[in-house]
Amino acid sequence: MKNKGITIFLIALAVIIVIIIVNEYLSDKPDKGKPNPYQYSVEEFKKIDPSLIRYKESVNFRIGFDNPAAIAIYNDTIYAAGDDIIKIIDLKGTLSGQINLPVSPHTLKVFNDKIFFAAGNRLFVYNMSDESTSEWEPLEELSFITAIAANANDIFIADAGNRRVVRYSPEGHLISVFDGKAEEGALHGFIIPSAYFDIEINDEGKLWIVNPGMHSLENYTFEGQLRSHWKHASMKTEGFSGCCNPAFFTFLSDGRFVTSEKGLVRIKTYKVSGEFEGVVAAPDKFIEDGHAPDIAADSKNNIYAMDFDKKVIRVFNPVD
């Protein structure tokens, strides 16, 4: 037979081709699936070097909320919001007062004798002196207020729904709005993939805003001009990871930052410069796939974390 060798070679190739195609057709089925080769395991990142842990958990306060929502500290008094109540608690955990609200708030801020709280696109002010509640002009329907910052002359709210910050006068007049974008399009603006968008004014009167999609904390003038920022995008302990972190932040009395993260739930402190300092609570302190706790700090730099999963306020004291 002419070309016998070639014919055998061709038949062998034809057999290989058929086997590969049939095998490919039969193998890609749910019960024949191999373990996901791209499984993203974060277990390794949950481990924290013990020498980095600078805080120790001391006590827990049961707050009795079905749906705890937010925590704030003003003049060393804890204001805890949940359900449709704000509870006023001293630093030892003793309940000293309670305010019933017309709505279930999502966030709150206390300044002077006023408690600002928000639910959805509605912003309310509770006046502690005359115990009256007033509501400001609600924002657009898409708005979702996630945080409030206040000083004597300005109130800022973080509107995650519209990825912007709105500035008000203390009387509730809208002064301005900014979205963190520079005129020339050089800056991204606020990147808010989920409803976590925190804002604070520190003791020096500086406005700091989380840009969670950028894993950064950004300092803006009250007019909305970016002044400085620091960022740490990393899976490692010193950085922020996932789509959007940190979820919450607050300041210690000396201006250092305390951050709370979701996904890999943990609380950490950063120096004023933004340099990583230490860990307050490691991921193993929280339940698997838990929520980022809201945080607040007292004048002695103790940190109070509202644990939404365990429905308690957890107190962490500095070790040294």
Binding site: F9, I17, K29, G33, S234
Partner: protein
């Protein structure tokens, strides 16, 4: 002239490279989480942004026009060869075999059956342009514009002539593949032509090992059986072949009158040259008309038989659909829900979809497969019937001519013809 061509070719490649680096600068960088995690590569290359997808269409149009010009006017095998080198580099290695006319009919099919799926203008043009060119100039797409064809064409070493019966039998496979590909695409099950594309893994250099072996096997086979994928698998080739049979103009072996020197008889590596037919021999060969009538009467039977086989196999075929397979699996083996490593099952469980919905969807899908398999089977039966009829039909032919349906317009035979223009 050759130098000029080479110059144009290299200039074009340079422009394309410059455009690429520009377009890449526009992309937003992947986030870096510094975790050491290896991100899976996307299965298909990233879609072209903005006007770049139209650049591909423009390149295809230019290549098709040049191929038609080289094959019909210039009669230059050399030109077609260089064109296929360009196609291999551009549409193959640079564009990663995507977007590709060969698989585009699946997108078009799905868009007909799924209201939520639409195809871009560029996909539509990639599907239509080669067919339109085939209708006017023959399969010039196969000659110079198809990267799958080009990679095989350049590796033909010692093409063997296959026996007619084998050519005809293997030639049925593309019809079966086409019918199945349309069925799978119409039901939104899979784009099998893309999935089993043997060369795309070589173009992208990222295929699974066995798919690389598949590609290499085809290439090795192609050393002796020229362009095996094009001739015995390519479903798009079926559509091109249909168009080409009615083409207004077509490549000819001789530029003038055929002098029957027979020099071209062994030139075609694809057995696509039809020889002159001796009428006397036909008359002597027996009762062709009788055979024709019998085969023609058998066609409805072939169709019914095909539809029957289709109906019988629809259950098996429908299992290729994720919903059907998953529903059957979860019913027959409920324990699998507890297997945390089973990604498909876990994905279903986490989707929030209820078992009832899944079963309902699977039943609808099975119904679609039943109808589709019967139509596909009937179509294959019809093709078999017509192929048999074809064996009884003799067309009067005095010259050596390319078979309009099978000729890939590669231009090799033209070089063998001693007749001057």
């Amino acid at each position: 002239m050759k130098r000029k061509l080479l110059y144009i070719f290299l200039t074009f490649i340079f422009c394309i490279t410059a455009l690429t680096s520009y377009s890449q600068q526009q992309r937003f960088p992947k986030p870096e989480f510094s975790s050491g995690y290896e991100q899976p590569d996307v299965v298909t290359p990233e879609p072209r942004s903005g006007g770049f997808e139209y650049l591909d269409v423009a390149v295809l149009l230019v290549v098709l026009s040049l191929a038609a010009w080289f094959a019909l006017r210039k009669r230059s095998r050399q030109g077609i060869l260089w064109l296929s080198v360009f196609t291999l580099v551009y549409f193959g290695f640079y564009r990663n075999g995507c977007i590709c006319s060969v698989g585009s009919f699946q997108n078009i099919t799905l868009s007909f059956f799924d209201a939520g799926y639409s195809v871009s203008i560029s996909t539509l043009l990639f599907f239509l342009l080669p067919l339109i060119f085939a209708l006017f100039f023959g399969r010039v797409f196969c000659a110079g514009a198809c990267p799958l064809g080009a990679i095989q064409d350049l590796l033909i070493v010692k093409p063997l002539s296959l026996p007619k019966w084998l050519n005809k039998t293997l030639g049925l496979i593309p019809y079966i593949y086409l019918a199945l590909a349309v069925l799978f695409a119409a039901t939104g099950t899979d784009f099998i032509v893309c999935r089993y594309d043997p060369f795309v893994g070589i173009f992208r250099m990222d295929a699974k090992f066995h798919m690389i072996v598949l590609g290499i096997s085809f290439l090795l086979m192609g050393m002796f059986v020229a362009r095996p994928y094009c001739r015995f698998l390519c479903p798009y080739g079926v559509l091109l072949s249909w168009m080409s049979r009615f083409s207004k103009w077509h490549l000819t072996i001789t530029p003038s009158l055929c002098i029957k020197c027979k020099l071209c008889t062994t030139s075609c590596p694809f057995d696509a040259i039809d020889f002159p037919v001796n009428e006397k021999e036909i008359v002597q060969s027996g009762p062709g008309t009788k055979k024709f009538i019998v085969y023609a009467m058998l066609i409805p039977l072939w169709i019914v038989a095909g539809a029957f086989v289709g109906e019988r196999s629809h259950l098996y075929l429908s299992r290729a659909n994720q919903n059907v397979y998953l529903a059957e699996l979860l019913i027959s083996d409920p324990e699998i829900k507890n297997d945390p490593d089973n990604i498909d099952v876990q994905t279903f469980l986490e989707s929030g979809k209820t078992m009832e919905t899944l079963v309902e969807e699977a039943e609808v899908m099975r119904g679609q497969f039943k109808t589709g398999s019967m139509i596909a089977g009937g179509f294959i039966g019809l093709v078999i019937g017509l192929t048999l009829i074809n064996t009884t039909v003799f067309r009067k032919r005095q010259d050596y001519v390319p078979h309009r349906g099978n000729c890939l317009s590669c231009g090799r035979c033209m070089d063998y013809c001693p007749v001057e223009k």
